[in-house]
Symmetry: C2
Subunit: 291 residues, 2 copies
């Protein structure tokens, strides 16, 4: 199987597992429809893919990491729904479709986000085939990464950081919380599912930090000169909002160079280990992505 | 110690445990301040009180239930913050103070709610002195009660139920989800902390169902003829919103009678057991409450 085939197979696993969860819910009002709309909207599934790949890298059975991968994607999806709300970023489009609140209204969008956030922990705590020690570690890992010392902290800092004085270090701190923490959690959840700690988990965490930062810089590059049709959203929104980004601070050439360097460092961190091929390939592929 | 003294002692335990959690957080932006504002706003703490009391009723050490009690109160608090948002109930006051978004703005209020919801599961999964089996049961219990088949389902149904055709059964279904599920979870978390299942947990769950419904009917009564100063919020908001409530369906006399009957049935369910005194007293007290 090629790495590209591996990626497709893992994506298919994740899609069907998420769809299965949604189908298991009783459709009160349009809550589940609204949850599904955002959950099953053709995202790249980078985070759950990292969870499955990390589990495999650690010698674990990938099916044991599937619930953790889905719970993580539910957290990511809730954060997008709430982030798009009029009182937050006020975005009308995501992945080429109207945002959740544009379709279902703000109240339902708030509740769909709340439901996904809550369900994420239910899915983690009910992951089949694992010891309760592993389930508890997973809940701790994801709640720390997503909560007021992780992703939500990044979002609040991002909200107040629209002034022109932000430094590179400040933007990096914001992004390491807002995007980085969940990407770190992604690889750590894979390790927990494989029951592996220690050196491999540490190497993977550094890999995830480098990859997460490269991912965010690439996002800023694409917002600056990406293809609107391919991205499924208007470009230039950062500039229009007067937002300081990696591109405004380091220029487009400087950013491309950083993505390249961070990707090399991420690969460097894990390539000494057996079974690191897919994760190295994935890092390279993300650095080249156009959407 | 009298039951009233017991209640005060448990309330003090809960307050200091919640304050301790908030103090442990790094204050990114005004996120933690906004979380504290709503968490430490002098609520009645009925749900966490029920958790501690149920643990004691089951012969458990009350300190072992403290983290579960706090996590539950964090879920309750997040739901109030999101419920008060302009796109939801659009309330300006709660417990005699401006609502969270009136003080911190909508974006911060959304994020403070998200942070509390996430932290609740962190607090549960880190509860000291318990086996991981118990921690997993607690996460499952609370996520089921609060998620898209529990509290959030109740909120979505409540949103669409403003028409004049709602029946008593429909309102009861909404309330059993919106308020009842968390009250059931409250007693179940106490049982889990005490490592007790079976007959006592079942009796407590029925007690909680009766008490939860009585509690909600009493809320409707107080919204109809309560004392605004004592309640800390304007009365008559249900009527002003054209909302069908237990009072519009059964009248004030009918509602008082239902509260009385449900409270008796709740007490009946548990009074045969030793150590049920406090829980019986609490049910009676809640039926008499003026705020």
């Amino acid at each position: 199987m090629t790495y590209a085939e591996q990626l497709s197979a893992d994506q298919a696993r994740i899609e069907s597992s998420i769809a299965e969860y949604v189908d298991s819910l009783w459709p009160f009002g349009n809550l589940v429809e609204s949850m599904s709309y955002s959950l099953l909207s053709g995202g790249k599934r980078i985070r759950p893919i990292l969870t499955l790949a990390s589990c495999r890298f650690c010698g674990g059975e990938v099916t044991k990491a599937l619930s953790f991968a889905c719970g993580l994607e539910m957290i990511h999806t809730y954060s997008l729904i709430h982030d798009d709300l009029p009182c937050m970023d006020d975005d009308d489009f995501r992945r080429g479709r109207p945002t959740n609140h544009r379709v279902y209204g703000q109240a339902t969008a708030v509740l769909a986000g709340d439901a996904l956030l809550t369900s994420a922990f239910e899915v983690l705590a009910k992951a089949p085939g694992l010891h309760t020690d592993q389930l508890v570690l997973a809940v701790r890992c994801l709640s720390e990464a997503a909560g007021p010392s992780g992703m939500v902290a990044g979002q609040i800092l991002d909200m107040v950081a629209t002034d022109r004085d932000s430094t590179f270090e400040q933007i990096q701190t914001i992004e390491s919380l807002k995007t980085g923490k969940l990407i770190e959690a992604a690889v750590q959840l894979g390790c927990i599912a494989a029951n592996v700690e220690g050196e491999r988990m540490q190497a993977l965490t550094i890999y995830a930090q480098k990859l997460g930062l490269a991912f965010q810089i690439q996002d800023d590059i694409l917002d600056y000169d990406g293809d609107e049709a391919e991205l499924g959203k208007p470009i230039g929104s950062d500039a229009a909002n007067g937002k300081v980004t990696f591109v405004t601070l380091k220029g487009i050439v400087g950013c491309r160079e950083m993505v390249r360097r961070l990707t090399e460092e991420a690969v460097e961190e894990i390539k000494q280990y057996e079974e690191s091929g897919f994760l190295c390939w994935l890092a390279e592929m993300l650095a080249e992505r156009k959407k």
